[in-house]
Amino acid sequence: MTRRSRRPDWRTLALGAALALGVVAALQPEAEAERPTYDVVAFVDITGSMNARDYRDASGRPQSRLEAVKTRLSTAVGRLPCGSRMGLGVFTERRVFLLFEPMDVCRNYGAIAGAIAGLDWRMGWEGDSRVASAVFAALDMLAPMNADIVFLTDGQEAPPMRADMPLEYAGEKDKVKGLLVGVGGTELVPIPKHDDFGRETGFYAMEDVPQASRLGPPPTGAENLPGYNARNAPFGEMPAGEEHLTSVREVYLRDLGRMTGLGYARLDQPDALAQAIAANARPRPVAVAVDLSPLPAAAALLALVALYGVPPLARFGRRRAPPHASRSFN
């Protein structure tokens, strides 16, 4: 049994390489990488205008804005990278109410999705919808929590803002990042009305809602307005308007975003929402281990395929070679 001094067969080398690479893969080499995660608190507008139905669900039936937010937000949360945390709050009146603090979206997805599914306009504690005040209040709340904001609203102020009183944000801009998400269609749609037991009884009519603001002192020159009475109607008579109808107020929300340093996105498919959150919130890099074992494993597979696949290919090539080619057994 003389061991030859010949060079080892290339197939031996391929087999040895595959074995070595397989062992390397089995040892699970890892590399450290950074992945961005996000800490956000989503505030959902649960005011009356969110009951307007200008979305369609998967089967094409009309869907209210709030329902659209619920289905899309919970899917979008599932698309955030693991390690991200999300809290949830609601908004009506002029302030926000935090339901829970940010928690890991992957480990607690069931609880988060259940809580989002449990959102209801009946949670609302008052009927007003002062979007700007609520956004400012939410930013104040989030600044010490070091979380970013996702504020989902149709942007409809009820009662409407005073056109002669410009809105100003007193807080520190850019301290909290995030975005305002515009909910609703661009067409005006009616807002459903409910009775004391929460049953839907029709839609708001023009005279049901204030069409202009009556807050603060009357504007200068109010005495020239129609119906002006210094004691009973210092703002003049209520003008006709479209405040009983609703559409997403994109221009207003963009302005509000510029004022507070927040981004803006329209509520679209969940993937787009998750991307918008990722684009506007501050990424918090966390170190994650990246498994490198597929590289040696793929190389091992390649070596094996070469081992088994090259001889038939070579034979095929030879068969097509010119007939005078020499053939040898060794």
């Binding site: 040892l27 829970f100 603090e101 609880a111 597979l301």
Partner: protein, 388 residues
């Protein structure tokens, strides 16, 4: 096996590569003129089949590993000692003041901060609980549904010391709490812990609804009343001559109403954080019942296992390959030994190759060197000639 999953199922398209070993041998093939040279023998056949199988196995396992084979995370039901608890927490703004009814300062924490701290401890002490959290003030609010994720419970309890709202609508809060038990919470282990610092009149219609709900789904009810200094307590009776109405003595009347529900009920009146702590400890001791709760076993990667197994198969193949003998290696020995049929075979083989490929050649593996030099297995591979 439903519990197995793949991260990259498309990689499984490479699985047909595992057929290659059935078609080709990694061993060097030598031509011999006739299968008579290498007679049939079982051991060689088994070894031959084994080598093919190991090759196929190695490729299959590598592909499985590459496709990210893992055991999915799954939920196992466990029985523990605890309860299914709905924490119903008052978020009215009065909770933001201290037990002494002052604005909280550094020395004294507010009722909501105390409740937050003590309830967080309570939840942390009881791993077998499933907990849901609801808040109520002007309106009832579902915070998180019944969950055994204690992270989630902590995050929900963590929010209770945020500024609250105006009113205390206990009735509607309770009817929300009654509805929050799911079917997995066994009937004997259901409990509601109501944490509030005041009471309010419950609408008669809501009272009826609550009685009906209590009759339908029995559960235990605990009222942890955070009594503020100067406020009326649960047991305070009006002095003779004063009207004894729910409007003037809401706490007393809420207590009376709870007693009429026909549920196991206990109230705790706490005037300080220490008393709250005692009350919570007592609830902790009372709520020790067998419960079913689920625990999630996290996903487990199996690719490393595939790679080790593939490496094992490859090791055997390599062993076979290294113990391979060529026919020409044999020649020296064959000449030295007595007349060997192989020697003739070899000579014949040389002769026959020159005379074109008219005769059908049997190509066999010279792979059995490890066992017995005289055996040349045949029939293991196809009738092909391999390149050397």
């Amino acid at each position: 096996m439903t519990g197995l999953g793949f991260d990259h199922p498309w990689a499984l398209l490479l699985l047909p590569l595992a057929l290659l070993p059935f078609l080709v041998s990694p061993l060097r093939l030598s031509g011999v003129p006739s299968s008579e040279v290498a007679p049939e023998d079982t051991l060689s056949r088994v070894v031959g089949a084994g080598l093919v199988a190991f090759g196929a196995l190695a490729i299959t396992l590598l592909v499985l590993g590459l496709s990210g084979l893992h055991r999915r995370d799954h939920v196992v039901e466990r029985t523990g000692v605890g309860a299914n608890i709905v924490l119903l927490i008052d978020r009215s703004s009065s909770m933001d003041s201290t037990f002494a009814n002052r604005r909280p300062d550094g020395a004294e924490e507010s009722k909501s901060v105390a409740a937050r701290r003590l309830l967080t401890d309570f939840a942390a002490r009881r791993p077998a609980d499933r907990v849901a959290v609801a808040a109520f003030s002007t309106a009832p609010m579902l915070v998180i549904p019944m969950t055994d994720k204690h992270d989630a419970v902590r995050a929900a309890i963590g929010a209770i010391d945020r500024p609250g709202l105006a009113h205390t609508d206990v009735g509607r809060g309770l009817s929300l709490a009654f509805s929050m038990f799911d079917e997995t919470s066994t009937e004997t282990s259901r409990a509601i812990v109501l944490v509030s610092d005041g009471a309010a009149v419950i609408d008669r219609r809501v009272q009826d609804a609550l009685r009906a709900a209590a009759a339908r789904d029995p559960m235990r009810l605990y009222w942890l009343f955070l009594r503020t200094a100067g406020a009326r307590g649960i047991t305070d009776r009006p002095p003779p001559g004063d009207p004894d109405s729910p409007q003037t003595y809401p706490e007393r009347h809420l207590d009376i109403f709870f007693k009429t529900l026909g549920l196991p009920y206990r109230s705790f009146e706490a005037r300080s954080a220490a008393e709250v702590s005692d009350a919570i400890r007592e609830i902790d001791q009372l709520e020790q019942r067998p419960t079913l709760y689920s625990e999630t076993i996290p996903r487990r990667d199996l690719d490393w296992l595939c790679y080790w197994a593939a490496a094992g198969a490859l090791l055997l193949l390599l062993g076979a390959k290294l113990s391979e003998r060529r026919l020409e290696d044999w020649e020296g020995e064959a000449i030295r030994t007595a007349t060997s049929p192989l020697r003739h075979a070899r000579a014949f083989s040389r002769a026959s190759t020159t005379s074109a490929s008219s005769s059908k050649e049997k190509v066999v593996d010279a792979r059995a060197g490890g066992h017995d030099g005289a055996r040349v297995p045949n029939g293991a591979t196809s009738v092909r000639r391999a390149a050397s």
